[in-house]
């Protein structure tokens, strides 16, 4: 019997059970027990979010006040009472030149978010206009064998998010391509396992920064005669190498610890070695492989920011670094926006992997 796909099943499967409760609330078939679970699943998280924002607001206000008082005090001791009054008036007027530079309040972060979106729209419009303007010229250039003129303006925040996602997926794929086959081989052969063990143990704990430097040394030399920007290549390889270990270890463990009963089945059926791997060993280790891949993806997203920052690859990491260096009035709040975006995307990636993992996993004792 095929199970029908309902909102309840899908949302429960993805760990978003409150969605179905919300549906029940609106359709009116909510029982008392459900109401309590609704309170717990929806109202409590919402309340805690509000509480968080409130505390953040108060904290930001206190920090702002401290910084403002310090500025006034400093003007008083350095330049006298007149300068102190001037500074006070300047801060109160909201003038950009004398604003205290500290943790931004939630409202400022929200404003920055809107201004980043506006900025994105402006850049997109600019890009579209540029494309239109150069269209005729570019077809001529391509026809005569020249490279087309491309847009070289700065990327918008959304472009940077997309760049980061591209980097992380490329790195994730690299990790998958290296770690899964290697893990299977290591899991199958005790000889290979002892050959690779030192390698895994030593390189697993190496920090992302060091991986970046190593990749940089190698890729720089390999691409020595290329004039293209190699920052993307360097960053995705570093991300892949940093994050592949969880998959490698989990795959090897899954493959080497297949239940003895399944191996006996393979023996009694007299499966050949290749069939044994593909029909028994791999399916039974899939849940562990996917657990590894889930960890790999979240590690990849986490190290990405640091690596982009170092590699100057135009993603979120570079955005954060540039805003920090920039020191503009709204830089701090833009950094906080980036922080939330990074967190939310990381959460979504984790959920996607969890969904896939649930789909392939089975209870270990189901067949016994």
């Amino acid at each position: 019997m095929k199970q029908s796909i309902t909102l309840g099943r899908v949302s429960k499967f993805m760990g978003l059970g409150f969605l179905s409760t919300l549906k029940d609330l609106f359709t009116g078939n909510l029982e008392r027990e459900d109401f309590i679970s609704f309170l717990r699943k929806v109202i409590v998280p919402l309340a805690s979010i509000l509480l968080f924002i409130g505390m953040w607001h108060l904290g930001a206000k206190a920090l702002y006040q401290r910084e403002a008082n310090f500025k006034v005090e400093k003007a008083l001791t350095d330049q006298g009472p007149a300068a102190a009054d001037e500074m006070k008036a300047c801060i109160a007027s909201g003038d950009v030149s004398c604003q205290p530079n500290t943790l931004p309040a939630p409202s400022q972060v929200w404003d920055s978010y809107k201004s980043l979106l506006k900025d994105h729209n402006a850049i997109s419009a600019d890009k579209a206009a540029f494309k239109e303007k150069t269209e005729v010229l570019n077809t001529e250039r391509i026809a005569s064998g020249l490279d087309p003129i491309t847009y070289t303006g700065r990327p918008s925040f959304i472009d940077q998010i997309i760049m980061s996602l591209k980097t992380v997926f490329a790195g994730f794929l690299l990790a998958l391509i290296i770690a899964v086959p290697l893990g299977i081989l290591i899991g199958l052969s005790p000889t290979l396992r002892s050959a690779f063990n030192w390698f895994i143990q030593i390189f697993k704990p190496v920090s992302p920064v060091v991986w970046y430097l190593l990749v940089f040394m190698i890729v720089k030399t390999i691409l020595i005669d290329s004039t293209d920007d190699s920052s993307f290549i360097i960053s995705f390889i570093s991300v892949g190498l940093c994050s592949m270990w969880a998959t490698l270890v989990n795959t090897a463990m899954g493959v080497s610890s297949v239940d003895k009963d399944y191996i006996n089945v393979a023996k009694v059926l007299k499966l050949g070695p290749i069939q044994k791997v593909f029909k028994v060993i791999l399916p039974s280790s899939l849940p562990l492989i996917f657990t590894g891949l889930k960890i790999t993806l979240s590690v990849a997203w986490m190290v990405l920011i640091a690596i982009e920052l170092l590699a100057q690859s135009p993603g979120l990491g570079l955005f954060v670094w540039e805003e920090f260096q920039n020191g503009a009035n709204d830089s701090n709040s833009k950094i906080i926006v980036a922080m939330f975006v990074i967190g939310i995307i990381g959460f979504l990636l984790d959920r996607i992997m969890l969904t896939i993992q649930n789909a392939v996993s089975f209870n270990k004792n189901e067949g016994i």
Binding site: M1, D261, Y262, N264, V265, K267, V268, L269, K270, L271, Q275, K279, V280, P283, S284, L286, F362, N363, K364, E366, G367, I368
Partner: protein, 281 residues
């Protein structure tokens, strides 16, 4: 020459000189078409014996002959029903069986194989559950899948390692009948390992008790001279059944008591008296 022959089988685990012998001096011969049951206590080496016969492990000394040939490794001619059903949990009922028949009959076409799978699923009455995964089935249903899988491979001999041990009494009774039915229809040689004397008497032609290990060895055989098909309810009043049952149980109890008395040692306790603590407080 017997169909299956075990000559002076000894099996020890490990390499040390003083490693305990799990099985020692096992001699057994089974004729073609016979249904033999081996009855023994848990932990007496029954599973080791089964694994020796189906070729999952090799004996330390002695030989296992199947149709006159030395057994080395598993073979499709000897089907096994494991104690724990050993179904692959990521495959459905039909897929579990299909995988087995595909390996055994590589020359048959896909549709022939599917028909074969459907036949055997029908035979164990699981057609409605055909596309379910093992986790959606009850223990009895899972064991029926395991039975269907073993039989669909059309083995010449079927080896059952406590196949019904984990089931409740009612399901167990039904499955016993189903297995007997199939055995009666296709007249294959069968070896049943069990810890249930009644089950052995109900199903087998011959019962051989396994004296418990270490150094497990086979006891004297008991022939069951009850006409088939046997009726479970009438069996209880059959004098033949009663006497055989009593004889086997007496034998097993005797070994059990013997084993107990073998390990009974006298422990000399030191003659100590508790100190009086009163004075210390």
């Amino acid at each position: 020459m017997a169909y299956l022959e075990l000559n002076n089988i000894c099996k020890t685990y490990g390499h040390a000189d003083d490693a305990p012998e799990v099985l020692s001096n096992i001699n057994l011969s089974i004729e073609e078409g016979e249904f033999v049951a081996i009855v023994g206590f848990t932990g007496s080496g029954k599973t080791t014996l089964v694994n020796l016969i189906n070729g999952l492990i090799t004996a330390t000394s002695g030989e296992v002959l199947f149709k006159g040939q030395q057994v080395s490794g598993t073979s499709h001619e000897r089907g096994v029903i494991f104690q724990n059903y050993s179904l692959l949990p990521w495959l459905t009922v039909a897929q579990n069986i299909y995988m087995a028949v595909k390996v055994v009959f590589p020359k048959k076409s896909k549709s022939e194989l599917h028909a074969l799978v459907a036949d055997y699923i029908e035979m164990v009455n699981l057609t409605p559950a055909m596309n379910k995964r093992p986790n959606e089935l009850s223990g009895g249903m899972r064991q029926r899948v395991a039975v269907a899988r073993a039989l669909a491979m059309k083995p010449e001999m079927i080896i059952m390692d406590e196949p019904l041990g984990a089931l409740d009494a009612l399901t167990r009774g039904n499955l016993q009948d189903e297995i007997l039915n199939i055995w009666g229809k296709e007249k294959r040689t069968a070896l049943l390992i069990t810890n249930d004397v009644d089950e052995g008497i109900y199903m087998a032609d011959r019962i051989i008790p396994l004296r418990p290990g270490p150094n497990a060895t086979l006891g004297p055989e008991f022939k069951i001279n009850i006409d088939r098909p046997r009726d479970k309810t009438a069996l209880n009043d059959d004098p033949n059944f009663k006497s055989t049952r009593n004889a086997i149980i007496e034998y097993l109890m005797d070994i059990g008591n013997q084993r107990k008395s073998d390990v009974q040692k006298e422990y000399v306790l030191p003659d100590l008296q508790p100190k009086s603590f009163v004075g210390h407080f």
